[in-house]
Amino acid sequence: MGEIKAMTGNTAAAVGAALSRPDVIAAYPITPQSSVVEYLSDLVHNGSIASTLVATESEHSAMSVLQGVASAGGRAFTATSSQGLAFMYEPYYQMSTMRLPMVMALVTREMISPCTVWGGQQDAMSVRDAGWIQLYAENNQEIMDMIIQGYLLSEHKDVLMPVNVCYDGFYLSHLVERVDIPEQSKVDAFLPAVSFDHVVLDPLRPMAVDSLTSGEVLMRYRMSHLEAMQKTLDVLEEVDEKFYAAFGRKYGGAIEEYRCEDAEFVILTIGAMTGTARDAVDYCRDNGTKVGLIKLRYTRPFPQQRLIKALAGKKGFAVIEKSVCYGWNTGPMYVETRSAVSETLSGLSHFSAIGGLGGADISLNHMISVIDTLQASLNTPGQKQTLWLVKE
């Protein structure tokens, strides 16, 4: 066991990054991410870590710098949120389609307008089809652990894709709680220095990278990227097991099932709201309701097979989200979950629940209301009206 300390989610992310020994950190501040890179810049300044810090003039430049770092075979880290991510989008997409590994903390926040700086998951969900691996943490321990796991996954030869460790702005980024910090020597053993089999950019051996490509060839890139995404589903489970062997903690891979075994129906959650949902499930179980919980940890790749298994034999599901899917009048992961179980969907009762936008609270009562609403609809299969978790 390492040192136990109370810290914010942003500090946990920064410590996780520092333990992973990145060669270069490049970033631009934005709420609620800023203290991640402020903490790291202190560590660089006082000599605690050997990373090079590049304070860029924008997020677009931060990601562009890190593209160079990863192309040259280095380990890269940054963090951003919301409008910063939006401004980063061009090199962000290119990072994944050039199949460059790195880890970025995505401190999730609502998108403007109306003007807001508070929580939500709309920023991360909006870029779910940009070729990155995306995972969501429930608490500060998981943030730190998943940054470390993220590098091993990202740099795996069958993966070679950048990873977003997403966590709730304010509700985790500024929440203080107990975290067990892994020892540096154990992290070094778990996550060796980065090395690649493939050729890397070297100024002494000039080469062209990312040249103009015809559609026929480009399609092969996409096929290979999509196949690698599917392969990632296996690799992420292996990485989680390896982490467990090294540190004694594991998270269940792409999803975690909580009290699902004998459950009649389940709720699905993403990120920090999961803790509240666990309390709600326990409360309803105590009152005789056979409800379970699926924590959706990875959204990219989407864990279709595991969800099919987890939902087999259940009578219904509700997906609770802090983001919206325009055009569907639901949350985005609801659309994907129903798509994943489309073969058995007709027998199920299901709906989307949306809450926590712009920093709004998702309370225990909200969670219980989702469970009660779903239970009441079990005898009439089909999609029910979207439930908005507004103030009671």
Binding site: I4, K5, A6, W118, E138, N139, D168, F170, Y171, L172, H174, L175, V176, E177, R178, A272, M273, T274, G275, T276, R278, D279, G359, D361, I362, S363, L364, N365
Partner: protein, 180 residues
């Protein structure tokens, strides 16, 4: 699990104080969680925060709607309906005030009221109104939820020795009254 809601004004150190409580709880081998609520960030505007303490891991990630304990850093805030809202039966109110209990409109479910003039302590020691560490001393005395010595050490490490004195003053000067 004890659920605590803090009410103060921007600049009074509500967030820093709560972080110290969590550090002290974790330092003593327990569990703590603090979620600050950020509104518009400016000096003087009402701010609040949500603190939980337990001897096992805390899972819920949400605001505190039914507090066991209220920690009020500024007694003018009690005019806001949201301050006394949702108090549990037998709740404890710890308030920075020069007023008497009768002047504080204490709701009927409150079991204990603890009054400390943390502003006077702060003005004496720092020459300005940053009552947070004096309030923490009062909190430690009234609730017994954090180890006094660990808390004082955390305060001194974070803010310096003068704040240890402020916390001790808060600890010694808080006046507690049982209403039930």
């Amino acid at each position: 699990m004890k659920e605590i809601r803090l009410h103060g004004r921007g600049g009074q150190g509500v967030v820093k104080a709560s972080q110290i409580v969590v550090k002290a709880a974790v330092g003593a081998g327990g569990y703590g969680q603090f979620i600050p609520f950020f509104g518009v960030e400016r000096k003087g505007s009402p701010v609040f925060g949500f603190l939980r303490l337990d001897d096992k891991a805390i899972r819920r990630n949400m605001q505190v709607y039914e507090p066991d304990i209220l920690l009020i850093f500024d007694d003018t805030l009690i005019e806001l309906p949201s301050v006394y809202e949702g108090l549990k039966e037998d709740a404890v109110v710890i308030i920075n005030s020069k007023k008497t209990i009768q002047q504080l409109n204490i709701p009927s479910q409150v079991r204990e009221v603890a009054i400390v003039d943390a502003t006077a302590i702060s003005l004496d020691i720092f020459g300005k109104n940053i009552p947070n560490t004096a309030m923490l001393g009062a909190f430690a005395k009234v609730t017994g939820l954090v180890d006094k010595e660990i808390l004082l050490d955390e305060i001194a490490a974070e803010f310096g020795e003068k704040n240890r004195t402020a916390a001790l003053d808060g600890y010694n000067r808080v006046q507690s009254t049982q209403l039930k």
